[in-house]
Symmetry: C2
Subunit: 134 residues, 2 copies
DNA sequence: ACCGTGTTTGACAATCATTCTCATCTGAGT
DNA sequence: ACTCAGATGAGAATGATTGTCAAACACGGT
């Protein structure tokens, strides 16, 4: 994102937040809030659904997790591998994800925006494809 | 879109479809299905909400309208100005939209995909900014 | 260790866009 | 006019996300 990082307000550490963070840390695929919630349940770390949503939003605002929307509009989350701005190439069969950087695109986006007199530009770029194993 | 055009099955012409198509033709901004539905109502062309959804989906599948998702997940539609593949630069204040083409991005997307062994790639690219009048 | 206070949580209700159901209607060919 | 598959509409159903609010909790001061 090109947007200024919505600065992380001081958040208080809690068992629930920790459980969620830990789960996300060991997962590499994108999961929905609902998925994460039930994974926590079955693992014994009971956390309310609303809490999962609240924390995911907070983490996303702080840039600690990536968010993207599936074709059917559901939000899916995944912990960032890098701090840097990046995009995703997702396999529509198995969900395997590759984080890609695109200096070229960033530049293009900025230029297009400037050329049209738009300021404060952000962009959404996601690539979907089918990976080799399919 | 890079995806093969889901070929338009033969669609039967109906009053409802015509009304919707006409409304879209005279509108240049992105509107949600709900918006379109109520505009049709207040204009006298009564059309069921489900029908609006069905037709919008059909039109989108045929590539007759552009679809994109607002930040809060709502789908918004607009008739395409061009047949060609393109993306949008949308003002987050007033909704003004500019259709942009990006040979550079298309190429980038294709290359990134190939480099990672993905085939059959499609992409989602939207730019949001604030236009001059704000 | 004990309190007071401002956060965070959880259970559940409420929203709300979108989809489904299914009986009825309509367009097009005969 | 007759028929039938595709289209429509009213309303119910779905399902993710958000709102509510009382109870539980973390933290700094004592």
């Amino acid at each position: 994102m090109t947007s200024p990082p919505t600065e992380s307000a001081s958040r208080r550490p809690t068992r629930q937040r920790a459980a969620l963070a830990e789960l996300m840390a060991e997962t590499s695929e994108f999961l929905s809030a609902q998925d994460l919630h039930s994974k926590l349940q079955s693992r014994g770390d009971s956390v309310g659904l609303a809490t999962v949503y609240r924390n995911l939003q907070a983490m996303a605002a702080d840039g600690d997790v990536d968010v993207l929307r599936t074709d059917d509009g559901e939000c899916v989350y995944r912990s960032c591998a890098t701090d840097a701005h990046h995009h995703h190439l997702v396999c529509r069969e198995c969900g395997r994800t590759v984080e890609v950087e695109g200096p070229a695109v960033e530049k293009w986006a900025a230029e297009v925006a400037r050329a049209n007199g738009f300021s404060d530009v952000t962009h959404t770029i996601e690539l979907f494809g089918t990976c080799t194993s399919h």
